[in-house]
């Protein structure tokens, strides 16, 4: 029944897309729409492509890029040069030129992205702005691109068929991509990059992928633009143009594809309406005589819009006009799911994510071992000669005063910091120097002192991100919704719900993570860590901010986890009741050195530990825990 409904929705989408297509085709072919209007329609479609592609980097990935017009320029000039030079039928040369333009833009995206994407936030914005401007300066100085004069006499090959179909394809593929494992990975980076990487997401690769794909789309849009205008000049593609597109994305609502589409449409048409308004005002009040105030009004609206709707247009369902647009565009976006329905794949085959096998039979050897591990920050020796062993299925505590280096050790174990001396051996192999996501995939998962969830994603999506390491379908398979996509997605949906039910969280699976109460957020973080199927689980102050009742629950949960998931657990904690209550062994760290190791009882009576850390309260706490 549910499928039926979805099928109907898909059919509706297709009808809507086709209806829009035929309406405009008819209007254009019959000559009802003038050349002027046709140009506006083309511009709108090109702007939509630019906005949704920039939305991929800025909205979904969350990285502010200010050089998008540069990629458009690369596409525009490349395709124009190709169609001008290549005398064969335009039916062949134009599509080839568009793709070539896109590919070269993607290549630029890759070359720029590799160095630039190491930066974040405003710095990335500035460096992409710089690269964008450099692309422009290069084009101005190259003879083949017509130098300062630009290129003219480009065949006007851009037709409604081309812009509309390409636009629909790009929007659809961005939508399906967004709902695939790759899209989840990209969004998880926006939500919390550190958590994403320790959940097994190779964040740099995904950043580069999103950035390059966006550049490709921008390049295609550039090709369409060049063959719409007939003449192009590098000066058009300056950073102001990049900013225009950024405005469209932000105004529409960051991360919302439909939002980008709506604002691209509105902002492309707005100047035209304002032009009429100017004429009207000048007619009515000849005394004022304003000179084309379009940009003045546009900028004022921009400021007011941001002040009153700082998160952009979408998500504000009160606007009924917007709902209408949203309605139409929502159908465009579901177009892609129709494709899957047409595929012969009718049997609902499901691939369950396989359980990784650790070919590690020798149980006498530790699962995780550090050997003379040490790290130095500048002049500060933060950890020195740390030897920790973790046996299979063991719960071990790591305690010590603040600043003793406990979290630093976790950061070394997970590859966030690179140790300056010593070795870390996981399941018999050294992992020093491996990137964090790699270590996670190989069996170490962690939680954080200050909770790091993918806040705006739902609970189940948080878990699914961590299944990433055990899924295989490619971005393309995700975009076209190939059979493997469906099989794997259904498989992890089942697995993720199973995992949540172990923690009694199946009821909240579809609520956003940040709406959970504090205790459940901590639980979800542990749950997410387990989803990557670790051999070693590192918990960083899991009881922080919990009251004794919650802490007690947590103690039970930790024991359950150990038994059910057969992991070794290393935990940092200040709550002595928890540490003394569940740990089988304890390491005490002070000034970066292990000063004691032993059973809870031995530690509680170790003079050095009492002096450095526990104080006299330890006795009390020990007695208390003894009573319950």
């Amino acid at each position: 029944m549910k499928m039926n409904k979805r099928f109907k929705a898909c059919l509706l989408n297709l009808i809507a897309i086709v209806a829009v297509y035929f309406t405009f085709s008819l209007l254009i072919n019959s000559g009802t729409l003038t050349r002027y209007h046709r140009n506006i329609i083309f511009t709108i479609c090109i702007n939509i492509i630019m906005a949704v592609s920039l939305n991929l980097t800025t909205g979904m990935l969350g990285e502010l890029a200010l050089g998008h017009a540069g990629f458009m320029a690369v596409g525009a000039f490349t395709s124009a040069i190709i169609t001008k030079a290549w005398g064969i039928s335009t039916v062949i040369s134009f599509p080839v030129a568009l793709i070539a333009g896109g590919l070269l833009a993607a290549f630029f995206g890759l070359v720029i992205g590799i160095p630039a994407l190491r930066l974040k936030g405003d710095y990335l914005a500035i460096i992409t702005l710089g690269f964008g401007e450099i692309i422009r300066v290069i084009i101005i100085n190259l003879p083949i691109t017509g130098a300062t004069k630009g290129l003219s006499g480009i065949a006007k090959l851009t037709s409604f068929n081309y812009v509309y179909i390409i636009m629909v394809l790009i929007i659809a593929s961005l939508f399906t991509l967004g709902r695939s494992r790759h899209g989840r990975a990209i969004i998880s980076i926006r939500e919390n990059d550190i958590a994403a990487e320790s959940t097994g997401i190779p964040i740099f690769k995904y950043k580069l992928f999103a950035f390059t794909l966006a550049a490709f789309f921008a390049g295609v849009a550039g090709g369409l633009y060049a063959h719409q205008q007939g003449t192009i000049n590098a000066a058009t593609f300056d950073y102001n143009k990049s900013i225009d597109y950024l405005v469209m994305v932000v105004l529409g609502g960051m991360g919302s594809i439909t939002g980008s589409i709506i604002s691209a449409v509105v902002l492309s048409m707005l100047p035209e309406y304002l032009r009429d308004l100017t004429a009207l005002i000048n007619d009515l009040l000849p005394a004022i005589k304003i000179t084309d105030p379009r940009m003045l009004i546009y900028s004022l609206m921009l400021v007011l819009m941001m002040i009153f709707r700082p998160k952009g247009l979408l998500g504000t369902a009160e606007f009924s006009l917007l709902n209408l647009w949203d309605f139409i565009v929502r159908h465009v976006k579901r177009f892609a799911s129709l494709i899957t329905r047409h595929l012969p794949e009718r049997k609902k085959a499901i691939t369950m994510p396989e359980v990784p096998k650790y070919d590690y039979a020798n149980l006498d050897l530790p699962v995780l071992e550090t050997k003379q591990l040490g790290i130095r920050f500048g002049g500060l020796q933060a950890a020195k000669d740390v030897n920790i062993k973790l046996m299979d299925n063991e719960i071990v505590g790591l305690i010590g005063p603040n600043g003793a280096g406990k979290t630093t050790i976790f950061n070394m174990l997970t590859g966030v910091y690179k140790p300056t001396s010593g070795d870390i051996v996981l399941l018999g192999k050294s992992i020093v120097g491996s990137p964090t996501y790699h270590i996670t995939a190989n069996g170490i998962a962690r939680t954080f002192q200050n909770i790091r969830l993918f806040k705006s994603m739902t609970v189940i999506e948080n878990i699914k991100v961590a299944f990433q390491t055990r899924m295989h379908y490619t971005p393309m398979e995700g975009i076209i919704r190939a059979p493997r996509y469906s099989r794997e997605e259904r498989g992890i949906d089942i697995r993720a719900r199973e995992l949540l039910s172990v923690f009694g969280m199946e009821d909240v699976a579809d609520t956003p993570a940040d709406s959970l109460p504090y205790g459940q957020q901590r639980k979800l973080e542990i749950c997410r860590a387990l989803a990557s199927n670790p051999k070693v689980l590192l918990l960083d102050e899991p009881a922080a901010g919990m009251n004794p009742k919650e802490t007690e629950e947590l103690m039970n949960t930790i024991k359950i986890i150990r038994n059910r998931f057969s992991v070794a657990i290393l935990l940092i904690e200040h709550d002595m009741k928890l540490v003394m209550g569940i740990c089988e062994r304890i390491y005490v760290l002070n000034y970066g050195n292990i000063i004691a190791e032993g059973t809870p009882d031995e530690i509680a009576h170790n003079q050095e530990v009492v002096a450095a850390y526990l104080g006299t309260a330890a006795e009390e706490s020990k007695e208390e825990s003894a009573t319950c």
């Binding site: 010590g400 005063p401 603040n402 600043g403 109460p517 504090y518 205790g519 102050e541 922080a544 901010g545 919990m546 009251n547 004794p548 009742k549 919650e550 802490t551 007690e552 200040h574 002595m576 009741k577 450095a612 850390y613 526990l614 104080g615 006299t616 309260a617 330890a618 706490s621 208390e624 009573t627 319950c628």
Partner: protein
């Protein structure tokens, strides 16, 4: 000294505090205990005018605070040690302490208070020229308290001073809170660590999901079955 009557605080659509009323008398240590998210910090922030309250009144030393801008509260004698210390980490320890005395003019008195603070926290004296960001967690908590004391408050409000500190440091910090109180500063203490807080406080209020559900003598609450079960763990 401080009287809070029926205040309500909203964050957007979320009703964070429901009709909260309590009072703090001269010379007391009063503590607000409760689970994470119960609204303890919201109460302090409402008193400090960092978040607005929608209804109800807050009176401090017989003065209604609703018309008083946040930055004037300090000179009235109300000072808050925020949760998570929030040092000015790129400023030196001394500069941080000076910022605490931002609203004061009398240099001699300030010097006196500085000496008083150093006598409580000798470790800060050793580190006056050091950047606050390089201090350890315990030292930062001491600096946060010292900074708040530099305004010579009549009422010192502290938000989770024990958070993230080792047992031995928690004890030290609580000893100092008691000393400061004995020297005449009234203390309003918000704590997770209910055991510690109740053992030094004279009176306490128990908060649950934005409401005060229990109040009384700290010693009584320490023996109260419900409280023991929910917040003391036995």
């Amino acid at each position: 000294m401080l009287k809070v009557e029926n205040i309500n605080v909203y964050y957007g659509a979320i009703h964070a505090l429901h009709d909260i009323s309590f009072h703090v008398e001269q010379g007391e240590i009063v503590t607000l205990i409760g689970a994470n998210g119960a609204g303890k910090t919201s109460i302090l922030n409402a008193i400090s005018a960092l978040v607005p309250h929608k209804s109800g009144t807050i009176t401090f030393c017989d003065k209604e605070l609703s018309r008083v801008p946040a930055n004037k509260l300090v000179s009235m004698g109300l000072s808050q040690v925020p949760e998570g210390r929030r040092m000015f980490s790129k400023m030196t320890v001394l500069e941080n302490l000076e910022m605490g005395a931002f609203t004061r003019r009398n240099r001699a008195e300030m010097q006196q208070d500085l000496e008083m603070i150093f006598s409580h926290f000798p470790r800060l004296k050793e580190r006056v020229k050091q950047l606050a960001g390089t201090l350890s967690g315990g030292e930062q908590q001491m600096l946060a308290m010292g900074r708040a004391l530099m305004s010579h408050p009549r009422l010192l409000m502290m938000d989770e001073p024990s958070m993230g500190l080792s047992p031995i440091l928690v004890q030290e910090i609580f000893n100092i809170i008691q000393e400061i109180n004995k020297e005449g500063t009234t203390v309003l203490l918000v704590e997770q660590n209910a055991h510690m807080a109740l053992s030094i406080a004279s009176r306490a209020y128990v908060l649950e999901t934005g409401k005060i559900i229990k109040e009384g003598n700290a010693a009584d609450l320490l023996r109260d079955d419900d409280v023991r079960k929910a917040y003391l763990g036995n």
